[in-house]
C-alpha cells in the first residue's frame, strides 16, 4: 500500500499540470496567433487559418507588416497618447481613490456610509448611458492654454484623463483592503505624532502594495482599452489613443497582417506593465507587524 500512495500523488499532480497547461493554452493561443500572423503576408495568413500553421511561424515570414503599419498610421503617436493618458490617469486615480478610501475606512464623519453606498451604486451604471451628458459637460468646461481662456475640452489630453481620475471600483477595492488592515497600526502612528496624511503616506501606502498593484492593473487595462469616449472627444489625430487608431486599418481595404502587427505592438506596453506589477505584487506581500 505504501508504494501506491506516491504513484497516485504523481498522477494527481500530472493531471493538475495538464489541466493548467490546457487552460493556459486557451489564453495564450490568441496571442500566439496574433504575433505569428503579424509576420505573414495576407494571402498566407488567411490560408493558414484553416490549419495548425496559423499558430506556427512558418512560410514567408518577415517584418513587412510592421513597416507597413507604421506607414499607414502614426502608431508611435497613438501609443504615446495612450501611454500618457493611461499613465497619468492610473497615477492620479491611485492617489485620489486610495485617499478617498482611506477617509472611508479610517475617518469618522457624518453620512460616511451613505456617501460610500452612493459611490458604490454608480458601479451599476453603464458608461454608455452617461457618455452623452458627460460629453456635454466637458464641452462647456473652461480651459486655459496658449490661446488664453477657451471653452470646451474636446480634442485634448485632459478630456481623456480628468473624468476617469476617480472611479467607484478602485475606491471600493481600496476600502475593502484598508478595512482589513489592523486598526492599531493607525492608532500607533497617530500616537507617534503622525497627521492623517502622514498616516496615509508613511504607514498605509507602504503596506498596501498588493491593492495598489491590483488597482493599477485594472485601471491600466480599462484606460488603455478605452474606445468609445476617446472616439467621441478626439476628432484630431494629435490626441487619439491606440484603440481609436485601430480604425485606420479598416479603412478601404483591410490588411489583416498590418492589423495583427499593430495589435502586437500595442499589446506590448500592457504585457510589460502587467509583468512589472506582478513582481511588485509578489514583493509587497509581507507579513504584518501585528501578532496574528
Amino acid at each position: 500500500m505504501a508504494a501506491v500512495a506516491p504513484t497516485n500523488q504523481r498522477l494527481k499532480t500530472s493531471l493538475r499540470y495538464l489541466l493548467l497547461v490546457l487552460v493556459g493554452a486557451v489564453f495564450i493561443f490568441p496571442i500566439i496567433f496574433m504575433v505569428v500572423s503579424s509576420l505573414k503576408p495576407d494571402g498566407q495568413l488567411l490560408r493558414d487559418t484553416a490549419s495548425i500553421r496559423a499558430f506556427l511561424p512558418v512560410g514567408d515570414i518577415s517584418l513587412d507588416n510592421y513597416f507597413a503599419a507604421f506607414k499607414r498610421a502614426p502608431v508611435g503617436l497613438f501609443v504615446f497618447n495612450s501611454l500618457l493618458v493611461t499613465g497619468i490617469t492610473v497615477i492620479g486615480s491611485l492617489f485620489l481613490c486610495s485617499m478617498a478610501a482611506f477617509a472611508f475606512a479610517f475617518l469618522e464623519f457624518k453620512g460616511k456610509e451613505i456617501v460610500l453606498s452612493l459611490i458604490i451604486a454608480t458601479l451599476i451604471i453603464p458608461f454608455e448611458t452617461i457618455a452623452v451628458p458627460m460629453l456635454m459637460v466637458v464641452n462647456s468646461l473652461p480651459s486655459i492654454g496658449p490661446d488664453g481662456l477657451t471653452w470646451g475640452w474636446l480634442n485634448s489630453y485632459q478630456v481623456q484623463i480628468v473624468p476617469f481620475l476617480a472611479d467607484a471600483l478602485t475606491i471600493f477595492l481600496f476600502v475593502q483592503y484598508f478595512r482589513d488592515l489592523p486598526k492599531e497600526l493607525i492608532e500607533a502612528a497617530r500616537l507617534d505624532g503622525a497627521r492623517w496624511f502622514q498616516v496615509y503616506s508613511l504607514v498605509i501606502v507602504p503596506i498596501s502594495g498588493p491593492v495598489f498593484a491590483t488597482a493599477a492593473i485594472l485601471k491600466f487595462l480599462a484606460m488603455y482599452n478605452q474606445y468609445l469616449w476617446p472616439l467621441m472627444v478626439t476628432q484630431s489625430e494629435q490626441f487619439r489613443p491606440v484603440m481609436v487608431g485601430l480604425q485606420y486599418f479598416f479603412q478601404l481595404n483591410t490588411a489583416w497582417g498590418e492589423v495583427m502587427a499593430y495589435l502586437s505592438l500595442i499589446t506590448l506596453p500592457v504585457l510589460a506593465f502587467y509583468l512589472f506589477l506582478q513582481r511588485a505584487f509578489i514583493a509587497s506581500i509581507a507579513s504584518t507587524g501585528i501578532k496574528g
Binding site: E187, G193, G289, K291
Partner: protein
C-alpha cells in the same frame, strides 16, 4: 512627567453607556493598573486617555491641561498595544525612531535616543531587522522602545503581555517594573490578569460594567475589598462566599448563622447591622486551617498539590462548594471528609447590597 485627573468621565456608544462617571486621580510617577473582566471598559478608558476614543462627558486632565479635545499626538502619551502594532515595512530602528522622525528630531539626537532605548531593552542586535523576523517577546520590546524614545509624560499599556507565553510574561513583567523604576514615569496599565495587577501596581483600579468599584493599593484591595465584586475578583483562588443571617448584633460582636456554618460569633466594629440582616461572609482560601472539628465540614472533591500549598475543593453538607489553600504537606483524598476552621480576624462581611460591612 505628569499626573492625570479624570472627573465624571463618560463614554457612550449610541444609548449604551460603557464608562459611567469615572473619577480618578493618578499622581506623578505612579504605576496604576486598570483591572476588570472582559468588557468592563478598562481598555476604553485607556483609549480615552490616549485620545483614540472621544470623551462623551466629563473632564480629562493630563498635568494641568484639559485634554478632552486634544489630538493624541499632543497629549504627551505613548501607548504599547497588545498586538504590538509595529510598522511591518520598517526595521526595528525605524519603528523605534518613527515618532522622533515625525517631530523632526535632528538625526544625531534621534540616533542616540534609539540606541539608548535599544540598550535599555537589550535589543541593540535587532535594530536592522523587520518585525516579521522577531519573536513575540522581541516585538514587545520594540513596542516598548518606541514608547520610551518619545519620553512621554504618561505611558499607556493595553494588555501588553497577553500574547506572550507564561515564562516570557513573567520576564517582561519584571522588565516593565524595572523600567518604571528607572524612568520614574507615570504608567497606566490595563490587564485582566490580577497577578500582573497585584505585582506591578502602586494603585489598582477595579472596574466592572464601566463603573469604578474600588481604587487602592494591591494589599488594600486584597485585605479590605469594598464590595462583593472586588472580593471575588481580587485573589486567587477566589474568595469563598457563604450566605448568613445575623442572629444577634452587639456593639463589638455579632452572631451569625447559615446552613453551611451553623452558628458563629464574630468580632466586628461595623455599625448598623441589625438582627435578621441577610449578609455574605467572605473567607479567603488561604485563611483556612484543617482542624479535627471546625465550623466547615465537607467532602473533598478535588486535591491539587502545588508544592508549597495544597488546594482542596470541598462540597459542604448543604451542597455549597468551597476551596481551601492548605499546607503543602496536607494529605487528604477525594471522598474523604475534612473539617476546616478559619482565621476570624480576616473574615469579610458584606451586606445584602454587596457592600463591605466588616
Amino acid at each position: 512627567m505628569a499626573g492625570l485627573s479624570l472627573s465624571n468621565l463618560k463614554k457612550t456608544y449610541g444609548k449604551v453607556e460603557v464608562i459611567k462617571d469615572v473619577d480618578l486621580e493618578i499622581g506623578h510617577g505612579e504605576f496604576v493598573v486598570f483591572v476588570g473582566p472582559s468588557g468592563c471598559g478598562k481598555s476604553t478608558l485607556l483609549r480615552m486617555i490616549a485620545g483614540l476614543e472621544d470623551i462623551t462627558g466629563g473632564e480629562l486632565r493630563i498635568g494641568d491641561k484639559i485634554v478632552n479635545q486634544v489630538q493624541p499626538r499632543d497629549r504627551g502619551v505613548a501607548m504599547v498595544f497588545q498586538s504590538y502594532a509595529l510598522y511591518p515595512h520598517m526595521t526595528v530602528y525605524d519603528n523605534v525612531g518613527f515618532g522622533l522622525r515625525l517631530n523632526k528630531t535632528p538625526k544625531d539626537v534621534r540616533d542616540r535616543k534609539i540606541r539608548e532605548a535599544a540598550q535599555i531593552l537589550q535589543m541593540e542586535h535587532l535594530l536592522d531587522r523587520k518585525p516579521a523576523q522577531l519573536s513575540g517577546g522581541q516585538r514587545q520590546r520594540v513596542a516598548i522602545g518606541r514608547a520610551i524614545v518619545r519620553q512621554p509624560e504618561v505611558f499607556l499599556f493595553d494588555e501588553p503581555l497577553s500574547n506572550l507565553d507564561a515564562a516570557l510574561r513573567m520576564d517582561m513583567r519584571m522588565e516593565i517594573s524595572k523600567l518604571h523604576q528607572e524612568l520614574g514615569a507615570t504608567m497606566i496599565y490595563v490587564t485582566h490578569d490580577q497577578v500582573e495587577a497585584m505585582t506591578l501596581a502602586d494603585k489598582i483600579v477595579v472596574l466592572n460594567a464601566g463603573v469604578v468599584q474600588q481604587v487602592g493599593s494591591p494589599l488594600e484591595l486584597y485585605n479590605r475589598p469594598a464590595n462583593l465584586f472586588v472580593a471575588g475578583f481580587i485573589g486567587s483562588p477566589k474568595m469563598n462566599m457563604v450566605e448568613v443571617s445575623v442572629e444577634t448584633a452587639g456593639a463589638n460582636a455579632i452572631d451569625i448563622s447559615g446552613p453551611a456554618i451553623g452558628r458563629l460569633s464574630l468580632a466586628t466594629e461595623a455599625s448598623g447591622i441589625v438582627l435578621g440582616d441577610k449578609m455574605t461572609l467572605g473567607i479567603r482560601p488561604h485563611d483556612f486551617q484543617q482542624v479535627p472539628e471546625g465550623p466547615f465540614k465537607g467532602t473533598v472533591t478535588l486535591v491539587e498539590h502545588l508544592g508549597n500549598e495544597t488546594m482542596v475543593s470541598l462540597k459542604l453538607a448543604n451542597g455549597e462548594a468551597m476551596i481551601a489553600a492548605l499546607d503543602g504537606d496536607t494529605t487528604c483524598a477525594i471522598g474523604e471528609t475534612v473539617s476546616l476552621d478559619f482565621n476570624r480576624d480576616k473574615v469579610h462581611l458584606f451586606d445584602s447590597g454587596g457592600q463591605r460591612r466588616g
